[in-house]
Symmetry: C2
Subunit: 239 residues, 2 copies
């Protein structure tokens, strides 16, 4: 019997198991340039397979909890993060994505604001990585991160998702920082400002950014639908 055949027949005997993983995106300044960039927290594998490689936070589904609750609990237990919005992204379950037995991972994701991200545990087994520099991850987690990035970038087109990264009041330059961090590259400030002011749901406040500037920039607020990972506020199915 060839090794390949042995492997197939072993898989036949073991039903797939289920896991929950989470992709959490936050904007943080790059330590070198100071420019805002997109980061995500990863946890170090402390057992086989993929011992010592970095992986998305996650874990098993407990018998009496929903998928959503399992995602929130696993994230809290591994990173101490408790994002306000945590949504299902996609289920990954290809037959070759992990050593036998096969694991189907239901992936949740969230965009967190700096105040939430600052509460994350950081030690030798939990760290933040730039989204474009995660290195080789365990399992198919590189592919999952790429998929999440692709979804995030395509959702930026609808507009509202950018505000999930911002506080209640923000300057127009801060919105541009978010777009530049997520899409990569630079946007023309004058064009961006004009487009933003023409969009609905952006309203000037009477406040200005605190600080020592000669002409402090005005603060704006977002008045559209509650920003979520998904561009649509949707009835959360009991999952």
């Amino acid at each position: 019997m060839s090794p390949k055949y042995a492997n197939v027949s072993e898989r036949e005997l073991e039903p797939p198991s289920l896991a929950i993983s989470t992709v959490i995106f936050a904007l943080r300044p790059d330590p070198d340039s100071g420019k805002l960039t997109l980061w995500l927290p990863l946890v170090r594998r402390i057992r086989q397979p993929y011992l010592d490689l970095w992986a998305l936070p996650g874990g098993p589904l407990r018998p009496t909890e929903s998928l959503q609750d399992a995602a929130a609990r696993n994230l809290r237990e591994t990173t101490a993060l408790e994002p306000r919005y945590l949504e299902q992204l996609y289920a990954f379950g290809g037959p070759d994505r992990s050593p036998s037995p096969r694991v189907v991972s239901i992936v949740y994701w969230a965009l967190v604001q700096p105040d939430e991200a600052a509460l994350a545990r950081q030690d030798e087994n939990v760290a933040w990585f730039r989204a474009d520099g995660v290195g080789t991850l365990a399992f198919d987690h590189n592919q999952i991160v790429e998929y999440a990035l692709w979804r995030l970038r395509s959702k930026m087109e609808y507009g509202t998702v950018a505000y999930a990264f911002l506080g209640e009041r923000f300057t127009l330059a801060q919105v541009r920082d978010v777009y530049e961090a997520v899409l990569g590259g630079e946007l023309d400030p004058a064009n961006f400002r004009r487009q933003l002011l023409a969009s609905p749901h952006i309203e000037p406040t009477s406040e200005y950014l605190q600080g020592g500037r000669h002409r402090p920039p005005r603060l704006y607020r977002y008045t559209g639908p509650v920003p979520q990972t998904d561009a649509n506020p949707r009835p959360e199915p009991r999952s």
Copy 2:
């Protein structure tokens, strides 16, 4: 030991199992009014639990197939349908969604054109139902259908998804029929026509609808991104 506690501890022993389900939407004329309405195929349960109730087509995941392949195979085996586009919708896995052992269902969905829908098997165990009149379904399938309808309606706003229901050439009235069938209710023909002609990606052809009319309406075509269930053409993750 209370029955409730006994149930919890039984669930503790059994890991969740995995199933794949599919929601297939097609437009068909209502047999009474002749007006286009939204329909979906259901299959009758031929075993417990929920014996004799109607349910979404679906079945198990085989050890060596991807989630996507399992969805296509289960759909083909139960209904003979082979939609051109079949995409992951959502994973449903609440602890109370099925009798023990718990089942996590990964749901795929598709929009099919009349030529595809016409190929579906129809017998005493496979039938088409109006989306707004499915009655009581097995498991939590009513909730899944409602969720799929909600997603479909919210995607109509982006525009391109309507063309997944239409052929290569269509009249403006046919586009309005799709919107009315999915959103329910009636749309003002003149307003709708004006909005449609103002949208990008809709181009007149030099052809007219065949038939015995005095002034046959012009046929248009869609030139935007390939219509899919999801408004964005997305790189299909290997799942």
